[in-house]
C-alpha cells in the first residue's frame, strides 16, 4: 500500500487542484516557512479518517476548507484523494483485483461529509477498516507530525503503550 498520488483541492492553503506524485521510495518535501508543507501531511491524515480538528491544528473541522486570501475568496468545499498501489500485496481481500486503490474525502461548509473508495460512495468506517492491521492509519506510529518527535520521549508510560498496541 505505498502511496502513489495525492490530489488536493480547497484543502487548507491548496485552493487550486494540485497533484503530488510519489514515484520514489524516499521523497523530500521542501520550501519556506508557512508555504504549506505540513498541510500536505494534514491532508494525508485527514483523507485516512482523522476526526479531530484539533490534531489538524484547527478549532472546527471546517478549518480545513480554504478560508480565503488577499486574492481569493473562501471556498465551500475541501477535497482530498489518496491513491495507493497494491503491488506489495498488502490489500484487503475485497480489493484484491485492483492494481490501485483511491480513497477520497470531501467536506462542505454545511458540515456534510462524503467518503469514497475507488469513486464509490462509502462510510468513514469502510475507510478506517481498509487500513486496519496494516500499520498505517491516521494516528499510527508511521506518521510523525511536526514537533511531535519528542512525544515518544515526553509522553506518559501509558501513552507510549498505545504506540506498541497499534503494532500488536
Amino acid at each position: 500500500m505505498k502511496i502513489k498520488r495525492l490530489e488536493l483541492m480547497g484543502f487548507k492553503s491548496f485552493v487550486d487542484p494540485t497533484v503530488v506524485n510519489f514515484d520514489a521510495s524516499i521523497i523530500g518535501i521542501v520550501g519556506p516557512n508557512g508555504c504549506g508543507k505540513s498541510n500536505v501531511v494534514d491532508a494525508i491524515r485527514w483523507v485516512m479518517g482523522e476526526q479531530s480538528a484539533k490534531s489538524l491544528r484547527g478549532h472546527a473541522m471546517e478549518d480545513v476548507i480554504f478560508n480565503g486570501s488577499d486574492s481569493r475568496p473562501p471556498l465551500g468545499m475541501a477535497e482530498v484523494a489518496l491513491t495507493f498501489s497494491t503491488e506489495d500485496g498488502i490489500v484487503p481481500p475485497e480489493y484484491a483485483g485492483f492494481s490501485e486503490i483511491t480513497i477520497t474525502r470531501r467536506l462542505y461548509r454545511s458540515g456534510e461529509s462524503e467518503y469514497l473508495i475507488n469513486k464509490t460512495a462509502c462510510r468513514l468506517r469502510d475507510i478506517v477498516e481498509l487500513f486496519l492491521g496494516t500499520g498505517v492509519g491516521h494516528r499510527a506510529y508511521s506518521v510523525i507530525e511536526q514537533g511531535r518527535i519528542d512525544f515518544a520521549i515526553n509522553a506518559k508510560p501509558e501513552d507510549r503503550r498505545l504506540l506498541i498496541e497499534e503494532a500488536a
Binding site: V20, I27, G31, D70, A152, I153, I164
Partner: protein, 161 residues
C-alpha cells in the same frame, strides 16, 4: 489481546536494545514495563537510554538532540517489528547535528526496502538523501503550489516551476 501486547512488546524491546547502541555508536538502551497501578491497570512503557560513556539516567536529563534520536530509535523499533507501507516524518531532523542527521539517514536507507518514506525538512543534508524532491511555494501569498526541485551544488535549493 494482552498476550499479543506482551509478545509485541518483547519483540520491540529486543529491537530497541540493539538499534539504540548502533544509533548512538555505543552505550545501551532498554524498554521496561511499569508496575500496573489502580489508576492505570495496564502497565505503561518506560524508555531507558545510556549514551556512550555516560551514566544510565532518566530520559529527561538527555539533551534535545539525544531525545530526538532516542525517539526516532523507538519509532523505528516498532516499525521493524510491524513495518508499515509508508512513513511520514515532519522535520524530525530539526534538533539533530550533522553527524546524527547522517545516522538518521542510514537508518532510513536500511528500512527503505520495506517502506516508503516522505520527509519534510529544511536540512540540506537530508535533502541530499532524497530520491525525489517536491517544492511547495507560496509565490501568490496564501496560496500553495507545488514545483519540481533539483538540488544544485552550493547554491540554495533551486525551485523550478
Amino acid at each position: 489481546t494482552l498476550k499479543r501486547f506482551e509478545e509485541t512488546f518483547a519483540l520491540v524491546s529486543q529491537r530497541f536494545e540493539t538499534l539504540l547502541p548502533r544509533l548512538f555508536r555505543g552505550g545501551r538502551a532498554e524498554l521496561r514495563l511499569t508496575e500496573p497501578s489502580e489508576e492505570h491497570p495496564n502497565p505503561g512503557v518506560e524508555l531507558l537510554v545510556q549514551p556512550p560513556g555516560k551514566k544510565l539516567s532518566h530520559i529527561s536529563l538527555l539533551s534535545g538532540g539525544e531525545k530526538a534520536l532516542a525517539a526516532v530509535g523507538f519509532i523505528f523499533s516498532i516499525f521493524l517489528v510491524k513495518p508499515s507501507p509508508f512513513c511520514i516524518l515532519d522535520e524530525v531532523d530539526a534538533p539533530l547535528d550533522d553527524v546524527n542527521v547522517e545516522r538518521f539517514q542510514q537508518l532510513i536507507a536500511e528500512t527503505v526496502s520495506r517502506s516508503q518514506f516522505i520527509l519534510i525538512t529544511h536540512n540540506r543534508r537530508t535533502m541530499e538523501h532524497c530520491q525525489l524532491l517536491y517544492g511547495v511555494t507560496m509565490q501568490e501569498p496564501g496560496i500553495s503550489r507545488t514545483v519540481s526541485v533539483r538540488l544544485q551544488d552550493d547554491s540554495d535549493v533551486a525551485l523550478a516551476s
